[in-house]
């Protein structure tokens, strides 16, 4: 279960970064304009994160993992859609939570 949690939260983080790389979404969350460099960094982080998520799920379950990955995409988009449309101010908290889940599950997996 920890594996799936890590894969899912990486996917969520990736799409969160994709969203923040967009002008409108960034402004809604941070109330300031993103500069070019920040957008690029978010995009880079997003791609790394989403590829990591895909690689991890495929490495663990092969074809079945790819299917799971599609499902993760759907759920993360749903969650982000709800946050960005209705509670943009909570995105920061959500991202913090998301990152800590990644770190915790990553630590858990590397220790056990």
């Amino acid at each position: 279960m920890m594996h799936e949690l890590l894969q899912f939260s990486l996917c969520l983080l990736a799409f969160n970064c994709f969203a923040l790389a967009k002008f409108n979404h960034y402004r809604e969350v941070f109330k300031t304009r993103p500069n070019e460099k920040q957008s690029k960094q978010f995009l880079l982080a997003a791609w790394i994160s989403i590829l990591l998520s895909l690689v991890l799920s495929v490495a663990q379950h092969s074809g079945y993992g790819a299917l799971l990955f599609c499902g993760y995409i759907a759920v993360s988009l749903l969650i982000l859609m709800i946050f960005y449309s209705f509670k943009a101010s909570w995105v920061k908290v959500m991202s913090m939570l998301n990152i800590s889940v990644i770190i915790l599950s990553g630590l858990f997996l590397s220790v056990f």
């Binding site: 799971l68 599609c70 759907a74 449309s85």
Partner: protein, 535 residues
Amino acid sequence: MKENFFRSMTWMHTWVGLLVCWLLYLIFYAGTLSFFRDEITLWNQPALHHVQTTETRIAQQKSQIIAGFDYLQNTAADSPRWGIYLPSQREPQLNYAYEKPRPEGQRFGGWQDHFIDPQTEQTIEQPRATKGGNFFYRLHFDLHYLDVRTARWIVCFASLFMLVALISGVVIHKRIFKDMFSFRANKGSRSWLDGHNVSSVLALPFHLMITYTGLITLIFMLFPYPAMTAYEDGVRGLFNDVLPTNVRSKSSPESAPLTDIEGVLDHVYTNWPNADLTQISIRDPNKASATITVRASTGTQLRDQTPTLLFNGVDGSLIAKSAAQLSNTEVFYDSMTALHTGRLANPLLRWLYFLCGIAGCVMIASGCIMWAKRIRKRMKKQQTASFGVKLVEALNLATLMGLPLATCAFFIANRLIPINTVERADKEILAFFLTWLAVALFALFKRTKAQWRQLAWLNAVACIAVVLINALTTDGNIISYFQNGQWALFSFDLLCIVFAGLFVVQAKKIPTQIQINTQMQGSRRSAKTKLQEQS
């Protein structure tokens, strides 16, 4: 030319989508429910509610099969077919079934089930007759009342249109990723467009996959030509080539004793040590042409064809076995069917499939509604709505709100129709279609916002009624399911409550006529005050 291309794609997206959207909604709806086919069947059979999976499930299989042979030999020695269905994670009961004597001129007499609790090894009382989840599964591609072949052709063409609409939809939304997470609520048709976009993007890989693979499952009916060109006897020739266990010898009337099943099982377990068997089927038992087919579970592999061993039923020799290694093309083809049916899915993936299926339903529904709204807007000047608009609106209301209500009626009928009624399973289905018909007639009369609201309330009440009636008529309820860890049943009831909640939200969101009037007055007033301020 480029601008033209996008315009023609938009045009096609609208029309191709609209021609079949109600049928597609039905297909998606029934298909989404079919992901929980076994769970729905379980819910519909309260007699099986207390059967639980044993921890030594796989280890017990051998003795269960031997006991099954004894039972069937004693009760139905001259039946044309036997089946032993072993317990699985999703269906914990053991079933020894045999085919009832065939009525004159019919090719199949129907199964007589005999359910056994694997834990206590006691016979379970015969559960009520119901189609359960299989009803939705068949509805998904057989459309129930139609002739099977016609229905499948219709479903195929609807799916083809769906695929084309999906591809053109991706093409026309060049800026799909610009504001991908925006859903502007309470903005009229803008919200519907956002809803349409979000639900499509959300599960786009799933939508494409499920439509394509869905067509692949019926491909040999749709395009038998490649097989007909390459093989003398067409599709049958291909199947005999690819599936060696598919061969079927002619039944012979000559009787011959059945082989010792233990010898066959020894053979099975040397071939597949630690196999998780799913079913044993015996054709023509106690006849010279007897065969025994043994199937094992595919587990979570992306594979639809189950590993199969085919034995001669008289001398117990192995006739054929399914290929252990598939070629790349076979894997490619086979995995598509596996992807569509999702039988491989563990609970997590099954829920993800379900969620994506719902996203598909939302996508189709929002598309239908958006289009009706647009035409309405354009119509405003002429005052009277044409027949086409009325039809579209009536179909929208009847399909989108009627199907959930009909489903609730199906489940309520399952609990309320007396257990010994003749043709009970068909009566449940009749309840489904009668309710749907009633909603359709209702929609013929009036289709304003008030009707949508009334039906939303009715749906909410019906969803709650399913849970309540279940609690009143069976010995379990949502709380006891939670306490006893009967998760399939608990999730079923919980989903009903969630959907009831969603329908309440829907009913509250639809503005009443008074609210519309005050809103309009408000906006007019503000416009007036603005004008006054300016002057």
